[in-house]
Amino acid sequence: MSSDKVSTQNNTLKSDKNALGEDYCLELNGGEILIQALLDQNVEAVFGYPGGVVLGVYDVLFKNPQLRHILVRHEQGGTHAADGYARATGKVGVALATSGPGATNTVTGIATAFMDSIPLVVFTGQVPSSMIGNDAFQEADIIGITRPITKHSYLVKHPDELGDVIKEAFHIAAAGRPGPVLIDLPKDMLFSKGRYYPNRTPRFRGSYRIKQDASKAISSAAALLAQAQRPLIYAGGGVVSGNAWEELRELAYKTGAPVTTTLMGLGAFPESHSQSLGMLGMHGTWAANMAIQECDVLVAIGARFDDRVTGRVADFSPKSKKIHIDIDPACINKNVHVEVPIIGDVKTILPELTRLVPELETREWYREIEHWKATHPLRYQQSGDDIAPQYMIQKISELTKGEAIVVTDVGQHQMWAAQYYQYNHTRSWITSGGLGTMGFGFPAAMGAAVGCPGRPVVAIVGDGGFQMTSMELATAVDQKIPVIIAIMNNGYLGMVRQWQELFYGKRYSSSDLDASNPDFVKLAEAYGAIGMRAKTPEEMHNAIQQALQVNDRPVVIDIWVRKEENVYPMVPPGAAVHEMVDTPD
């Protein structure tokens, strides 16, 4: 009661318009409603690119500089940047593109966000309503194209609808299991007058409705866990998106159960803690993968039993009874059968579970775990003047004291960045886990830097992936975004080469980039960024230290690493998790 009163008073003080209540109405054109509604949603930044049908919006933006618009150099970079912003801040990311090719360029970014459950609202221009379906200039059925990769989408035909649609879209993007929402804006709608009710809350249709009471399932889970002798917590991206890392820690600390995280869950549990086993899965640690096969009760939290985690699914964690906490009912029993499903928000469920479980007797279990850790640690050789790629990651971890936001592309460097950077904070590890999008890293890092000014942001990318979106250097220079781009340059599409070495008889088909790679230092300088090259450990150390001092522009560090290093441990495709191959000594 009392808190209601306070918030009402605050709102009244904040702005007069709120005193006018739900009937307060503005007569604006569609473009103005769009910008006003974004300001009312407290949007800090829009990553966009203009074009024919959205010029009306850009005209309104010109007159409203209080809404920061970041001009990207390709619409794919726009959606990735909005995605990186959302992952780093926990807020909804916003991207804007014109119709046709502008809209289709956003597709990879939308699919990336969809696979990793990231809240985005993407606005696309559309040809005038009367011309839709006529194969007009720059027309694409973007609603149709993106239907399988959005949570929901809207074609707004009248500006009267726009305000409510935007409110609903922000709600849907963030509610339940988050995801991208697309709003298609025909040109004529943007120019015609409509009514915008800033204070009206539309009746949100929920894609997310908790239908059952979880308390019974929670007691069953607690009873099961209480009997465990070899418990294991397997935490995924849902702990990050549900902001439940503290609740996870409390469960882990009270029970004493060891914790492994997925690629998406890195940072949800501090890796410096003795209960941490690090990452599991295809390139997970030996201890984590053995533990998942040997545990007797597995508690999956906000994770989806992805094929990169389960290996051969028939032999996944065969000795365990499984508890699965997830906000998305469709994730339950999708890949792996579980005994106790709990559907709901991890943030509310974990404390209830923690309250009901006792401290577990796990000394025997930890003896086994310590044995695995001691006999099969993550390891590599660093000697002489060349740079082991793993050493590069460790050095970045050390020099940033584990406090940077690390953003990656996809491939070997991504796996090493997952293994060798020590993540102790949540939302400090940003990677395209589900879709595996090369070219994601650098633009997503820009978005993270925009959302978290003052924190060091390091994009760890490969020489292949960086070239897919390197044009965003212009954006970062233009907007003075201080991102460090650490290129792990081995002259190969490293993960492709690794698979070709191991499974395709060393036939390196189309994976050798060395001869055709550009001079990345000159490339950086051509854009007005700082470029540095490091070929020895000492040069690398100095370059990273220098780069960390820069706060007004991007820095590209071209780090030449040992060329034919492989990522281990590795669960070979089709194998069970415990059949993983460790680093050859």
Partner: protein, 172 residues
């Protein structure tokens, strides 16, 4: 999946869906089935008791896990208000078919007798054809089409099943 606890036998299921009355909603439903590799045996959709809402009936098949996935994935769509699996509940289901069959004078009366047995209506006649309208559950429609096939089917159009739960579920 080799888990013994999950029955793997495939069976037919009848799903009824309350969904907002828009083309985009129908496209999302159909796209979900094609995109995730689910089966649609029949689909029918039309306005419900409220003009802003459509009622959609889908018949599909798969094992328990697949059908559970289908209903849960459907349930996530923002446009969908409610999904029910009527398969194991008392329900009424009907399908309508129009069957144009070759009917020269020498077989015409025999065809009319068959139509009569199925309590179907003859809705069009020409010197060489009869068009029969039949309503019933899918088995009845299948049986009727099967009986008429030897006479020469010219054209068949079926609505797909529509279904709703029975209101009085106790014993009489």
């Amino acid at each position: 999946m080799t888990d013994p606890e999950i029955p793997s036998a495939e069976s037919s299921h009848i799903l009824t869906i309350k969904v907002s009355n828009s083309f985009n909603a129908l496209a999302r439903i159909a796209g979900l089935f094609s995109g995730r590799g689910f089966n649609i045996d029949s689909i029918s959709i039309g306005e419900s008791e409220r003009p802003e809402t459509a009622s959609c009936t889908i018949t599909t098949h798969g094992d328990t896990r697949i059908v559970e996935q289908i209903t849960r994935q459907l349930d996530k769509l923002v446009d969908i208000e409610e999904v029910s699996d009527l398969t194991n509940e008392p329900h009424v289901s009907r399908e309508l078919a129009l069957i144009k069959v070759a009917a020269p004078p020498e077989t015409r009366s025999e065809i009319m007798q068959i139509a009569n047995i199925f309590r179907s209506n003859i809705v069009d006649i020409s010197p060489a054809t009869l068009t029969i309208e039949i309503t019933g559950n899918r088995n009845k429609v299948d049986a009727c089409i099967g009986m008429l096939r030897p006479f020469g089917l010219k054209e068949v159009a079926r609505t797909g099943m529509i279904a709703m739960p029975r209101e009085y579920q106790g014993s009489v």
